[in-house]
């Protein structure tokens, strides 16, 4: 490959990735050479600027033609742009949280590392969204995972943080192995790692044995990746890890990393298993993905039930949100199960809403837990008196998480319901489970409300909000309400700019 070929690629489409990469380099070097006593907060702001810059350049890329670099190892299609928008938005918000995060148990010495490790994880998520090749996808996945393991354990002197990292890395390793095992079979039967190539090969498959193996591979990949989603059966690490990890990392895992998980799962499932023909009794073959609907539905249902039901018993706010995030993964899986023509819309919108509301909630959780040094839910008592802004903000996020109309969370759920009910074999049971568990979720969501609004405060001390956190809360609250009242802003944006993701496989 000579220079000419190298330059012939449209590297401009990778600008956001290059920006992040560049900032990783800048931060790591700066951190190395900065005197030890200088507050690393400044690096955080630099990193934040980097993410914002990347976001800006990504926005400028909206509308460019689908580009593919080096046999799809990087591709910029509308799917990639749409989801990278969410990822970068989430990353920027988490970055702000991380800047304001103060905890005196080991993290403070390594704040500089924290920021660029975080950026590398973000880079990983971006590649997960933006690749058409199994190898890049896998590497992107690991680029997300490995810094995440470290980030979770960065409160070095906190045993919970150590434990959380340990659990995360062990589960992550196993899940990677399982995913890879599945991928190896896919590769074996396709003989290529290019998703389009795989799709072409699979489209012509007739040997039932191969299809059977692909079915197994489907399970391995799906279950392996469900680790990232924190959905059943690979969900159990989530509460422990979320509880132990530093709050911004928890926010990151709960929102951005989960989004990335959905991105990769959509990419792989749709482009690979959407093309495997499974013979039916009536002779009309259907895609393997559709044949697997019952299994996905089962997992989705189990996820929703597990998440919501166990959340009822939680007293630790971060743990509670961990279970809640499991439940939300289940909701999104419902959209995936349905495979209607609005599945993409539904998942995209839900993830957008979810990132906003979840990060908003975590911003407030971070403020409260930092203030009290404990994560017990009772510290929310009387929040309304101490800081009406925080209480109302949290109220909005909780309403949105609970799917109350007027918030983005509701429109997100609406989309999912539509998808699940509009297909010919409508998923009534699944939708019923989803709605029933949503109602169950009222118990714990409104339990927080009860604390905030009904219970007396233990102290009347006002709560000071750091700048960055305030910005996060405002942005997410406004977004949550805005997309709840005028969802068309987002939905029309999606449709005008991304044309139904028609170029997904092109």
């Amino acid at each position: 490959m000579d220079l000419e070929t190298l330059l012939s690629f449209d590297w401009g489409t990778m600008t956001p990735e290059f920006i992040i990469l560049g900032f990783i380099a800048i931060l790591s070097v700066a951190d190395l050479f900065m005197p030890k006593h200088v507050d690393r907060k400044i690096l955080g702001w630099v990193g934040f600027a980097g993410v914002v810059l990347a976001l800006a350049s990504l926005v400028s890329l909206i509308g460019t033609d689908t580009t593919s670099i080096l046999y799809d190892t990087f591709r910029l299609d509308s799917f990639a742009i749409a989801f990278k928008l969410i990822l970068l938005l989430g990353a920027a918000l988490v970055m702000l949280l991380a800047i304001d995060y103060k905890h005196n148990d080991g993290l403070e010495d390594n704040k500089g590392e924290f920021f660029y490790l975080f950026l590398s994880a973000v880079l990983g998520t971006m590649f997960m969204a933006s690749s058409g090749d199994l190898i890049t996808l896998f590497v992107g996945l690991e680029l997300l995972s490995i810094p995440s393991y470290i980030l979770a354990g960065m409160r070095k002197r906190n045993m919970k943080s150590n434990e959380s990292a340990m659990k995360y890395v062990l589960n992550g390793g196993i899940s990677s192995a399982i995913t890879l095992f599945g991928m190896s079979y896919v590769f074996g039967i396709a003989g290529t790692t290019n998703l389009k190539g795989i799709a072409t090969v699979f489209g012509g498959l007739t040997d039932p044995q191969h299809i059977y193996i692909l079915g197994l591979a489907f399970f391995m990949i799906f279950v392996g990746l469900s680790f990232k989603l924190a959905s059943a059966p690979f969900h159990m690490w989530a509460p422990d890890v979320y509880e132990g990890a530093p709050t911004p990392v928890t926010a990151f895992l709960g929102a951005v990393s989960k989004t990335a998980g959905f991105v990769i799962i959509l990419r792989i499932l749709l482009s690979i298993f959407g093309y495997v023909p499974v013979a039916q009794e009536d002779g009309q073959p259907i895609p393997l993905l559709f044949a697997m609907q019952d299994y996905i539905a089962f997992l989705a249902g189990a996820t929703m039930i597990i998440g919501n039901v166990i959340a009822l018993r939680q007293r630790n706010i971060k743990r509670l949100f961990a279970y809640s995030s499991i439940a939300h993964a289940g909701y999104i899986l419902v959209a995936l199960t349905a495979m209607s023509f609005i599945t993409f819309d539904a998942i995209w919108f839900y993830l957008l809403a979810y990132v906003l509301m979840n990060l908003g909630a975590f911003a407030i959780i971070q403020v409260i837990t930092m203030k009290n040094g404990s994560e017990d839910i009772s510290h929310f008592a009387g929040l309304y008196r101490r800081s009406p802004l925080l209480a109302v903000g949290m109220g909005i996020f909780i309403l949105s998480l609970a799917g109350i109309p007027g918030t983005a969370g509701f429109i997100g759920k609406l989309n999912i319901f539509m998808g699940a009910l509009m297909v010919d074999q409508a998923h009534y049971v699944l939708v019923s489970i989803m709605i029933a568990t949503t109602v169950v979720s009222y118990f714990y969501y409104f339990g927080i409300m009860t604390q905030m609004f009904f219970r007396p405060a233990s102290s009347e001390e006002k709560i000071q909000l750091p700048m960055g956190t305030l910005v996060v809360i405002l942005v997410t609250a406004v977004g949550t309400i805005l997309f709840g009242i005028m969802p068309n802003l987002a939905i029309d944006f999606l449709h005008t700019n991304f044309n139904q993701f028609m170029d997904f496989m092109r």
Binding site: P208, Y212, A232, M236, D240, I310, R313
Partner: protein, 620 residues
């Protein structure tokens, strides 16, 4: 006559006016009420006079539209209505006047007059209703008026209980009326009396349906008129101020049941069974209540049972096709019973007790009330030449002529009882020893005695509008132009009048011997048949039976339902939440903090999925 609808409005205006300004007017409120009823009275008389000449007038307007059904409201002036208007407004006017003296000094004086106004409005509205629905509306409103007035002394537990009882017992009857009325509506398509009668005449309704609806409507009448078995509220209703008893529970409202049956006479008449039911219930009530009246010691209660008994007479008359007799007795009864109550009120006003055992020798002290009371007593006892004599005679004839011989004899015995207990009452109150504690007994003011006087005159002369000797003027007029109501005068054997006279005189004689002469011991019966006496004394234990059965059953059902509420409804909820909680607990328990457990579960989950897939969806 076109403006007859104004008649009920006067008292309504009085009611509203007193509600708003009564507090300021204090006892001057009386004048508002009196004036209003006087207006009604005058107008009613004018209407009656006009009606004597001209035919029935009816005017209606749409009240409520239901799809293409139109329910109307309006008024009608036919013979019965016109007569009732006068009776009601007259008695009401007199009671209004009387009350000014009787209620003097009561702190809720204006409220009393307001209530009276409300009641008079409702009662007048009731009697000019052209259709069943409107009848029902006012029917309920008079019930409320009655309820309010019975419970006028709200701080007395007994008044509270009596008011509640009155309302609920009549309500039971009302539901019967409501059902009957609605059924009739779906059969005939109308609530209008004339259309219903037309439908009945055409045979548009099956016989069973006529019987059913007639009996259901009769249940309403039973409730309102205190007929057996819904009679128990009426004696208790004596908790109200005495003028109220006179107006509502003697002259007007309780007669509404009779009025209703009379209004619907063509319907009843179309069903033998219904007629027989009415007659039997009437006759039975007549003797049943009379027998209780024999042993009561409360002056008002005696009168109350007497009312029940007399209402039974009227029912018997109607049930025996004696339309005229029934209405006639209704009229005469209104006068003499109102008179008796007012006189009783005057007595109570004077001696401040209602227990006749504690009275005696008042004849000399109450020189005015005494004779008036005696006139009433004579009238009700059916002593010849008094009004009661003529109307009762008509009823007996009707019963005989209709072939209800058994019932006829019951009525005769009841007449005997009536004469006996009324004179027992009279003798115990007015004759004999004057009690020592009866100091300061003085005659009532003229505002009270004058109304009694008017009533007394009527009690004497009202009978002459319809007599075998001077022509059945009333009867002819009542049935004029409407054959369905039967004849204006039913001829009966002449001996009936003699029998009637004989039993009443016998009763008076017996009473005189026992209570005035003391030639027969007062304990004659109670000592000889103590059980029977006890039963009668305790009103046949009807209240107790109701308490043990209906009230008990209601409570039992309620408790049973509460059991369901607690254990089934709530239990299911608790079960559900408990299940969810238990699920959560189990889930949390599995989440045991062992990272290898997590991995195991994830992996086993995967394995299970794959095995299921291999077994079901797999190839081969």
């Amino acid at each position: 006559m076109e403006n007859a609808w104004l008649i009920p409005l006067f008292p309504l205006v009085s009611f509203l006016f007193l509600l708003l300004f009564g507090k300021r007017l204090k006892e001057a409120s009386a004048f508002v009420g009196i004036l209003a009823t006087l207006a009604s009275l005058v107008y009613s008389i004018l209407v009656l006079l006009e009606r004597l000449e001209s035919p029935t007038h009816k005017a209606e307007a749409v009240w409520l539209t239901i799809g293409n059904l139109e329910l109307t409201a309006g008024f009608e002036v036919n013979q019965l209505n016109a007569l009732m208007l006068v009776i009601v407004s007259l008695v009401s006017f007199l009671v209004h006047t009387y009350s000014k003296g009787y209620m003097h000094g009561d702190e809720r004086f204006p409220v009393f007059y307001a209530y009276l106004g409300l009641f008079t409005f409702a009662m007048l509205g009731l009697v000019i209703s052209p259709n069943l629905l409107q009848t029902y509306i006012f029917w309920e409103l008079v019930g409320v008026g009655s309820f309010l007035l019975i419970g006028f002394y709200f701080y007395k537990e007994s008044a509270k209980a009596a008011a509640k009882k009155a309302f609920i017992m009549t309500r039971i009857g009302d539901v019967g009326l409501l059902i009957g009325m609605i059924l009739l509506f779906w059969q005939t398509g109308s609530f209008e009396y004339d259309e219903i009668f037309a439908a009945v005449e055409e045979g548009a309704i099956s016989g069973t349906m006529i019987t059913l609806t007639a009996i259901l409507i009769f249940i309403g009448a039973v409730g309102k008129s205190g007929q057996f078995p819904l009679h128990t509220w009426l004696p208790d209703a004596m908790e109200g101020p005495t003028p109220v008893s006179a107006l509502i529970h003697a002259a007007t409202m309780v007669a509404a049941g009779v009025y209703l049956v009379a209004s619907l006479f063509p319907l009843f008449n179309a069903s033998e069974t219904a007629m027989l039911t009415v007659a039997i219930i009437g006759a039975f009530t007549a003797i049943f209540a009379a027998s209780i009246g024999l042993v009561q010691n409360d002056i008002k209660r005696v009168l109350a049972y007497s009312t029940v008994s007399q209402l039974g007479y009227m029912m018997l008359a109607l049930g025996s096709a004696g339309y005229v007799a029934g209405v006639f007795h209704l009229m005469t009864h209104a006068f003499f019973k109102a008179l008796l109550f007012l006189a009783a009120g005057s007595v109570i006003h004077a001696v401040h007790t209602q227990d006749i055992e504690k009275m005696g020798g008042l004849w000399k002290k109450l020189t005015f009330t005494g004779p008036l009371f005696l006139i009433g007593t004579l009238a009700i006892s059916g002593v010849p030449l008094f009004s009661g004599f003529f109307s009762k005679d008509e009823i007996l004839i009707a019963a005989w002529a209709h072939g209800n011989y058994g019932l006829f004899w019951l009525a005769v015995i009841a007449a005997f009882f009536t004469a006996f207990y009324m004179f027992r009452l009279f003798f115990m109150v007015f004759t004999g020893e004057a009690r020592s504690e009866m100091k300061n007994v003085h005659e009532s003011p003229s505002v009270m005695t004058l109304p009694m006087l008017v009533l007394a005159v009527l009690a004497v002369v009202a009978g002459y509008v319809n007599t075998p000797w001077f022509g059945a003027f009333l009867g002819d007029w009542l049935v004029e132009g409407n054959e369905a109501l039967g004849h204006g005068h039913i001829a009966g054997p002449g001996w009936i009048m003699i029998v009637a006279t004989a039993v009443s005189l016998l009763g008076i004689l017996l009473a005189w011997m026992m209570y005035s002469k003391n030639s027969i011991s007062r304990d004659w019966l109670s000592s000889r048949a103590p059980i029977a006496y006890g039963v009668v004394k305790n009103k046949y234990y009807i209240d107790e039976i109701y308490n043990q059965s209906v009230v008990f059953a209601t409570k039992a059902i309620s408790l049973f339902l509460r059991f369901i509420e607690l254990f089934v409804v709530e239990g299911l909820v608790k079960l559900t939440t408990a299940t969810v909680q238990a699920l959560g607990k189990t889930g949390a328990k599995i989440q045991n903090g062992q990272v290898q457990t997590y991995g195991t579960i994830a992996f086993v989950g995967l394995a299970v999925l794959m095995v299921i897939y291999a077994l079901t969806g797999g190839y081969l």
